[in-house]
Symmetry: C2
Subunit: 399 residues, 2 copies
């Protein structure tokens, strides 16, 4: 039997049926009155999800395009920037910055860890006089499955460098964990459609502060396609400066409405539950999570090591061939060393239980002894703990 | 009754059913073996449509992104370029070039006309010593509906400036008229998915010569997202450097197969027929084409003036409300002054006859006397002339 694969990777994520329906619609003119109405609905919903009263720019490009835009529109060649690196995606900040002719300094921590506020404070205290034009951060490092304590890191940065631009990759965190550009005092945050937004790839989003907008005014060569000024002007008139990916935007309209109906708190709680379930499940099957500290576990993706003597390929291939379930390999240096289960976007507890059950079957088949039903049982227990949290407990767990 | 609108605009164009079907499919991982197979099929088909033995880069971005990429990857700030301007889209070349810090010179002809080889020859003969790093051209100027004699213009450029980069906007011409990057000795050509490719917007394509690739090696700041080197390397491995718009790429695979099945000659002949039919039809209804010379009429779009005393708005709104047919207004300075019927991509004679019939009904209703059936009759006659052309006649008409 041929069934569509169940994608349990950290993006692209499964798609809601109403999104698929609009993606396949007949063509619509991007300058039509109907499409302007769509954009008029979409823009405020983007502000809602980014927690910002300012315009959020809508790019037809991947998240990497928006990452480049966040620097090419606010900085000038020769500017010094500090990149906090704890994986391949946070390292991409440094790579892009170099390509743009910026002076890049990186502060690295081992893969699987996050920068602590204390460490960053010490680092910056010793560099009070350094004129960092921007600090580049990553919220959920998809390479490892680490969620960094962004709000606390931002507070630390503001103590010593109150005017530096704080630029955040929120690609796999937005719509999966708490975030507010305005309240958190972040200057630029970017995300992509194929993540928490439950859409196919093709769009990226860029939210910005008044400070970032002012920096843009002093930017000498902001380029054309990603130019903030052109988006600002066009979006005020509920249009886009260039032809946008209309199917994904119709989908965005639908998906953001679904998200508003579910409610941000519920969405965040769901992702937290899915993360805890997956983590508890793999642990109970005797697998070692790659991210050691529970508190750093990303709500979007859980990474773990294969059992001794069993290859990542064998596990992934078993899941795919027998069950039509796709989980991710590690990337680059971690290829073949870890596996990653994505639980981002249009994913419910059902898919997590499905994946853990299938994983048990595959591991058993490959000779790794799993106590019968242990993964699923642990996941169910973890989900009950989350569901029965009191508001006070929740406040603690969010802190 | 609610029916989907018939889009008769110069992009986005109507979509074939099989394209719509794949656009609405469940999510697919862009790093999966299945998707690599798709890309492996797509890349050679892109080379086929661009008439090039070299790699064609596939961007998730609008055509404007590819236009910027064509210069940001091959030129350096301060380089002198010559832009041939005959409308808003050819003028965009000059705009982007300025944004990139290039020294821009424009050679303008009135809107509705094209640069002649003789005029360009005279211009360049007088500037033999000028070191133009690039000449920027537009094939089908969608603002007016003019098709420029690119092959002849290129020959003229090569006489005086053999090594200058020739960079072409083929956005609304590719898949609608003859073109070959290699045979025509063009260095960069760009196009977009929502045009002759019969797809929704979201992708753009960039074909390049060995000369352009060499220029890229001397480019100091080629940027990141559109960086040729990254696409070259990734595409050799049948992947993309960043997350691509997967639905549109699945659609591209389908659409290019449809195009190969129809055959390039047949596609070009079809567009030529549709253009002649539309032009003959509007003329027979007493409307004045904006492009005076038949030889300059674009195969993708036909523009014409409204009858005296009748507004463009009234005509467009009549077509849309009563018949669900969308034709385009003029843009910028030509807004309200001309109308444009697109006949690009997934459009057949049927849609042209439909549009002309409806146009007759609307014009009559608005008080413009049209001899009954004149537009349709003229269109049918024009189509018969095209269908019955001998090879010799065809050769002449292509000259």
């Amino acid at each position: 039997m041929k069934k569509a694969d169940l994608l349990m990777i950290p993006g692209p994520t499964p798609l809601p049926e109403p999104v698929r329906e609009v993606m396949g619609r007949p063509a619509i003119g991007h300058r039509s009155a109907e499409f302007k109405e769509v954009l008029k609905r979409v823009f405020p919903k983007l502000q809602w999800i980014f927690g910002s009263k300012n315009q959020v720019f809508l790019y037809t490009a991947s998240g990497t395009g928006a990452m480049e835009a966040s620097m090419s529109n606010t900085l000038n060649p020769g500017d010094r920037v500090l990149a906090l690196v704890n994986g391949v995606f946070s390292h991409r900040w440094a790579e892009i910055a170099k390509t743009l002719g910026l002076q890049v300094e990186t502060l690295d921590v081992p893969h699987g860890e996050a920068h602590t506020p204390a460490m960053l404070q010490e680092y910056l205290e010793a560099r009070k006089e350094t004129d960092y034009k921007a600090v580049l951060l990553n919220h959920s490092e998809t390479y490892t499955g680490v969620l960094s304590p962004i709000r606390q890191l931002v507070s630390v940065i503001r103590q010593t460098h109150p005017q530096t631009l704080i630029i955040l990759d929120a690609i796999t965190s937005l719509g999966a964990t708490e975030f507010s550009l305005d309240e958190w005092d972040i200057d630029v945050a970017v995300s992509g459609s194929q993540k928490g937004f439950m859409l196919p790839p093709g769009l990226s989003f860029l939210a910005l502060s008044e400070r970032a907008w002012q920096a843009h005014q002093h930017c000498q060569q902001p380029g054309y396609y990603f130019n903030f000024t052109r988006y600002q002007k066009a979006q005020l008139e509920n249009t886009t400066p260039y032809t946008p990916a209309t199917p994904q935007i119709l989908g965005l309209d639908v998906a953001l409405t679904l998200m508003q109906e579910e409610g941000l708190e519920a969405i965040i709680r769901r992702h937290q539950t899915l993360s805890r379930m997956t983590r508890a499940g793999v642990k109970a099957m005797g697998l070692e999570p790659f991210v050691r500290e529970d508190a750093l576990a990303s709500p979007s993706v859980t990474s773990f090591l294969p059992p001794a003597g069993i290859s990542v390929d064998a596990v992934r291939s078993g899941l795919k061939k027998r069950f039509g379930i796709v989980i991710a390999d590690g990337q680059k240096e971690l290829k073949g060393k870890i596996m990653r289960i994505g639980h981002l976007g249009h994913v419910s507890e059902r898919e997590v239980l499905t994946t853990l059950s299938a994983l048990e079957a595959v591991l058993t088949e490959l000779g790794h002894a799993v106590p019968t039903g242990a993964g699923v049982a642990a996941a169910i227990e973890a989900s009950q703990n989350t569901h029965t949290q009191t508001p006070a407990q929740k406040a603690v767990s969010h802190a």
